[in-house]
């Protein structure tokens, strides 16, 4: 019983860390975007203010029970991903659920939220929401292919499907997987563009044509939960990449440095890019990223 309580406590702490880091990263992204566009930009804590304002909105509307449950579904996905990904290696601060799930489980739990959210967006009856959802799902089919190829390459090279197993493999050889399996890393990073949905892959929420797509009927606290979920999810995904390709992190500072460096790849690429159309985006993912994924698998088979 005590163990369970400690686990819950650890989960809450992890959640708070992820929330704060994710929100700060979001704010920094806005700041960096502004600087690239030669603006002053909002303060780095602007996202916290926005979130708090959304949470303190006095009214909200909903279109039915699935709409109410949408944000909760989204949160399940984010928090479960966060709990299954080992936050710090060789550290018992955040044990969470690391040992209960593996990569395949993670791939599926990561799709749980977007699908639940899609149901919520569907029930609003706003055509823009449904269009956004179809775009998002199409894009998901696109980027999951190189992403899974990269993961399969890692799995077969190190004969394990668990994240901790891959981290141990890096600890033993002393090299990061991004150097020993470079093609897998390239494919995974390219897939990351789709995962983070920055330009040119922000086709889901395209504010100018879809009126922010799936979230268009959500305001106030719904939007707050979605925003927090997005922050937590960002952190969880970055941590996953760090664990898989960059040897994990033994303390929080290293983790922050590594995740931020990685996070800047899609952000900086996105700032200077216009938006793809859906089929262009999907085909982009099935082009070079899939090619690199194939190379990664070939490399893994040869080196196995």
């Amino acid at each position: 019983m005590e163990e369970v309580l400690y686990n819950i406590l650890g989960a809450v702490v992890t959640f708070i860390v992820a929330f704060v880091v994710g929100m700060t990263y979001g704010g920094l992204t806005r700041k960096i975007t502004a600087r690239v566009q030669n603006r002053k930009g909002p303060p780095f804590y602007q996202n916290f203010i926005d979130a708090f304002k959304l949470a303190s909105k006095k009214t909200a509307i909903h279109h039915g029970v699935m709409h109410l449950m949408g944000p909760a579904f989204l949160m399940v996905s984010s928090v479960m991903t966060l709990l299954v990904v080992p936050v710090l290696s060789g550290n018992n601060w955040f044990p969470n659920l690391n040992f209960h799930g593996d990569l395949i489980f993670l791939l599926y739990i990561m799709t749980f939220g977007p699908l639940g959210m899609a149901l919520g967006a569907g029930q609003t009856g706003n055509p823009n929401s449904a269009i956004g959802v179809t775009r998002g799902l199409s894009q998901m089919v696109g980027f999951e292919i190189p992403w899974v190829m990269a993961l399969v390459a890692l799995m077969i090279q190190y004969k394990t499907t668990s994240i901790t197993g891959l981290m141990d493999a890096q600890a033993q050889t002393g090299t990061w997987l991004m150097f020993s399996s470079p093609f897998a890393f390239i494919a995974a990073v390219m897939a990351m563009f789709g995962m983070f949905r920055y330009s040119p892959f922000d086709i889901v929420g395209a504010p100018t044509e879809l009126a922010s797509g799936p979230v268009s009927e959500n305001g106030g606290k719904f939007l707050f939960v979605m925003m927090s979920s997005g922050s937590v999810f960002t952190f969880a995904k970055l941590t996953l990449y760090i664990d898989l390709f960059m040897g994990g992190a033994s303390n929080l500072v290293i983790l922050l440095i590594k995740t931020f460096a990685l996070y800047m790849i899609p952000v900086l690429y996105g700032i200077t890019s216009p938006r793809y159309r859906t089929e262009q985006a999907v085909r982009w993912f099935w082009g070079w990223p899939t090619f690199f994924g194939l190379l990664a698998i070939i490399q893994a088979v040869i080196l196995k």
Binding site: P42, Q46, K57, T59, E217
Partner: protein, 181 residues
């Protein structure tokens, strides 16, 4: 505890502070004044440093910016959009047209005084107001929010019948849903 008068004051203060620094403007250009919004938002004047940014739909927005003259047709949509926004919400009247009709004061199909149809929190004078004036308008709104005086939504609710009568007088075929917040 939380309903205690003093703690309520503190909560209000914090909430107003966050509302003040996070103003999401509905991207809805009603008249010619909308042309001043792009320079206000982009690099030259950069309203985002004040926390002002665009929102895509009325559900997410805080501020409805009436950019210039309102034709009767547009007024109907504006009222609809305003009623879809979530509390607390503010209206900024932008340009002379919203104050007294401006150069359209004797037009057959524009309204002259916006305040009769929607509760305006802040007016920005000028035809057009330059981005500096827009920014100062936002600053004024922020000041009112911080002081807790930007209560247009509450006024609208209180005097709904008066507003409705005015709206119905000007809009010929009235098919709007009930507003029952």
């Amino acid at each position: 505890m939380i309903n205690d008068k003093h703690s309520q004051k503190i909560v209000d203060y914090i909430q107003n502070w966050s509302r003040k620094h996070s103003i999401w403007v509905l991207a809805y250009g009603t008249g010619c004044g909308a042309i001043e919004i792009p320079p206000t938002m982009t690099s030259r004047y950069d309203a985002e440093r004040l926390g002002v940014r665009g929102a895509a739909t009325p559900r997410q927005a805080d501020v409805l910016l009436i950019t210039g003259y309102l034709t009767v047709k547009t007024l109907k949509r504006v009222i609809r959009v305003y009623e879809q926004m979530q509390d607390p919400k503010y209206v900024i009247g932008f340009g002379s047209c919203t104050i007294n009709g401006g150069m359209y004061y004797d037009s057959y199909n524009t309204i002259n005084v916006l305040d009769k149809y929607l509760p305006v929190d802040v007016y920005i004078n000028g035809c057009m107001p330059r981005p500096e004036a827009v920014l100062s308008g936002f600053a004024q709104l922020q000041k009112r929010i911080a002081e807790g005086r930007a209560d247009g939504a509450a006024q609208y609710k209180e005097n709904l019948e008066w507003y409705r009568a005015n709206q119905k007088r000007i809009i010929p075929n009235w098919v709007m849903p009930e507003y029952n917040w």
